[in-house]
Amino acid sequence: MNLIFLISLTSLFVILVWYIVSPILEGTTNIPEQINQDELMRKKTVLMRQIKELEMDHHIGNISNEDFIDNRNGLKNEISKLLENIN
């Protein structure tokens, strides 16, 4: 019983070490491009949502015309910059 337990424990330890160390032996050294692209797409979605909220605030009367145009242009510029980097 003790021997089986010890073997199980050792196996668990070896599996753990392999799980952690294996990417160092076989992985890629650079951050994959797709991951960066996903992040940019997420940022774009958030900015689009902010424009929608801004439009609603403007319609309800919670924000002046001048501020609305200012903020919307700012958000649109941010999206444009993002789009330049999205493939």
Binding site: L9, I24, T29, I35, D38, Q50, K52, E53, G61, N62
Partner: protein, 654 residues
């Protein structure tokens, strides 16, 4: 074997936390992505091992392995299976392991959520999470190991059993809910530290943590409400909040967390309050650790003092490290934390948010001061000066009412500045409604604080409903939708905002309930079976006293008929006097307990406590309390939770 495996899992997890941090350090130095993946996997393994250890302890509790000290201390053969599970967080080491378990689950979610969306913040986010895990791993490995063997030179055939006060369904849910809140704030804290270290203090980290903050806040709120419910149902003093140190410990991070939830809106929309947000989330997390410390250190006397230990210095050391590192980072990054814009007008939504934030922090400071004052006074003067509920009420009631006022004012203000016309247009109806409630209250004979609180709840409720009306009307006009369709779409498309307003409505309902406390009344008396006692417009008839024996206690049940003035039966209540561990030959181990019974309505609660019994004379010693409007506290709680869930629900992107 299983206890050994549990201990080894915890030791391995502790060792892996050092390795994981090392792998991330290599990644940060060389930008070699392989080490990021290895570090990430290390973090997964730490969480998995911690979760495994928790399940192993749970297994030992369920099979009543009294060879483990923790199992012998907090369960017995007679303990019902459900309470054997809840015993996991009943004691010191178990609850620390449970903290680690929740953090590990949260960490796993974060790790997989961001697995395919690397940002510059992620390595640091994971490092911070692993450091917090490592702190708790040190506690459960070195100081309070839940798998420690029972220290006895004989076979332990039965355990002590669970504290009767904890053998209650609400108390089974309340601690894990609160823990989910406490631990949840670790995630926004980790993102904040990562943002400071990487100097990426824009809105990316704010967007990443909004949902996490809401989740933590939801659980913290639900935990506090459940705690109040438990106190009301179980402790038998007729109230739900006593400003007990441990209650305060859960309330303080809730206050700063609420302030944070509001002020991140300003940062997201206006690029303001960046430093303030960093400070708020650090204070919130520190208060969460402080709360765990208060509950677990035994430094304060409290109804929650289920554990007394020497964990204090370790917790205080960790808190000091968090504060030192946090303060250094905020000071060092001061130049990049400057606001992009300034508040231009007193009558702007930004200033409304700022006032509300200041009030939250002031209340938090008052609660903090009152909570630690007994410890400070003992340290300085050698005499423990207790600060009771009157101090907290005197300080916090007026500030709380001011906060309620700003809950109503905030949504009525426009961003940047509100024109005179808009002020008149937006404020007229809520003010008129508030005045109408004031007049009604005055003629009903209501005086003092409640003469302010009820009109204020009227003002705020009207302000919130107007905000819903304005939004719906605007949508109805723009898209030519019928009113109710527009209302439904308005909420579903803007869940964060309108969910927030529903939460405010919940707070209004809760304030109505709090105000009812001013009209509480109570009477304590002894009566024989068949006797009738009149009190506060009701007749209380003691019909019977019935003894009964259950698996883990003996009980005497008082049968009470309650009649109104027209002799109509209002309700029948059955409060109980119980004695737990009644079979124990040692009388000192027997624990008396009063299980009360409540008749609850929208207007008032009839609260009955069976405090003593004389079976020979057939006499019951009873305490009756009439508590008006308490129902609204719990209803407000439901509304608050419902509103938060709406705010949390993901919006479909079109």
């Amino acid at each position: 074997m299983i206890p050994v495996l549990g201990s080894i899992s915890l030791s391995l997890a502790l060792g892996l936390s050092a390795i994981s941090i090392f792998l991330f350090s290599v990644f940060l130095k060389n930008a070699d992505y392989r080490f990021f993946i290895a570090g990430w996997r290390g973090a997964v393994a730490i969480s998995a091992l911690s979760i495994l250890a928790t399940f192993l302890l749970l297994n030992e509790l369920l099979i009543s392995n009294f060879d483990i000290s923790y199992v012998a201390h907090y369960t017995s053969i007679e303990t019902p299976t459900f309470y054997k599970i809840t015993a996991l967080w009943a004691g010191q080491s178990g609850s620390l392991l449970f903290w680690l378990f929740i953090l590990s689950v949260y960490t796993l979610i974060v790790l997989f959520q961001y697995k395919n969306s690397y940002t510059r913040l992620m390595p640091w986010v994971i490092i911070v999470l692993v450091i917090v895990q490592a702190f708790f791993l040190v506690l459960v490995n070195v100081i309070e190991n839940p798998f420690s063997p029972t220290n006895a030179d004989f076979v332990v055939v039965n355990g002590n059993g669970l504290n009767p006060l904890l053998q209650n369904l609400t108390m089974a849910i309340h601690p894990p809910t609160l823990y989910l809140g406490y631990v949840g704030f670790t995630i926004p804290f980790a993102f904040a530290i990562a943002a400071l270290i990487t100097k990426d203090t824009g809105s990316v980290w704010i967007r990443s943590i909004r949902r996490w903050t809401l989740i933590a806040w939801l659980f913290q709120s639900a935990g506090i409400i459940l705690g109040g419910w438990w106190a009301y149902q179980e402790l038998g003093w007729g109230g739900y909040w006593a400003w007990d140190p441990v209650e305060n410990a859960s309330f303080m991070p809730w206050l700063t967390g609420t302030a944070f939830l509001h002020s991140i809106i300003i940062q997201e929309k206006k690029g303001m309050l960046k430093t303030w947000n960093m400070i708020l989330i650090m204070i919130t997390f520190t208060l969460c650790i402080f709360g765990t410390f208060l509950t677990r250190s035994g430094v304060m006397s409290s109804v929650h003092s289920f554990a007394v230990s020497n964990l204090g210095p370790v917790f205080l050391g960790f808190i000091a490290i968090i504060l030192l590192v946090g303060t250094y980072l905020v000071i060092d990054r001061a130049s990049i934390l400057k606001s992009e814009k300034r508040i231009e007008s007193f009558t702007s939504r930004e200033s409304g948010f700022l006032f509300n934030n200041v009030i939250f922090v002031v209340i938090c400071f008052a609660v903090f001061w009152g909570t630690i004052f007994p410890v400070l006074s003992e340290a300085v003067q050698g005499e423990k000066i207790t600060v009771g509920a009157p101090f907290f009420n005197q300080v916090n009631v007026p500030i709380g009412l001011l906060l309620l006022l700003f809950t109503g004012i905030g949504p009525l203000l426009a961003w940047r500045r509100t024109s005179k016309e808009a002020l008149i247009r937006n404020f007229t109806i809520p003010i008129l409604f508030g005045i109408a409630v004031f007049i009604a209250c005055f003629f009903l004979g209501i005086r003092e604080t409640t003469l302010i609180s009820f009109p204020l709840t009227g003002f705020v409720a009207a302000a919130i409903l107007i905000e819903f009306h304005r939004g719906t009307q605007s949508r109805s006009k723009r898209f030519n939708e019928p009113f109710f369709t527009a209302l439904k779409t308005l909420i579903s498309r803007n869940r964060s905002r309108y969910g927030g307003y529903i939460v405010h409505l919940g707070i209004v309902f809760m304030f109505i309930g709090f105000s009812g406390h001013a009209f509480d009344s109570e009477l304590e008396f002894a009566m024989k079976t068949g006797e009738i006692k009149e009190f506060d417009g009701y007749k209380f008839e003691l019909v019977s006293i019935t003894p009964t024996e259950r698996p883990n206690h003996i009980a005497w049940i008082a049968g009470l008929n309650i009649w109104d003035q027209e002799n109509q039966l209002v309700t029948r209540l059955f409060p109980e006097k119980r004695v737990y561990f009644h079979k124990d030959p040692n009388p000192d181990k027997r624990q008396p307990h009063s299980e009360l019974d409540i008749h609850s309505t929208l207007v008032k609660d009839i609260y009955t406590i069976f405090s003593g019994v004389d079976m020979e004379q057939q006499i019951a010693y009873l305490k009756i309390m009439i508590n008006p409007l308490v129902w609204w506290v719990w209803f407000g709680g439901y509304v608050l939770i419902f509103g938060t869930m709406i705010a949390l629900w993901p919006v479909k992107e079109h």
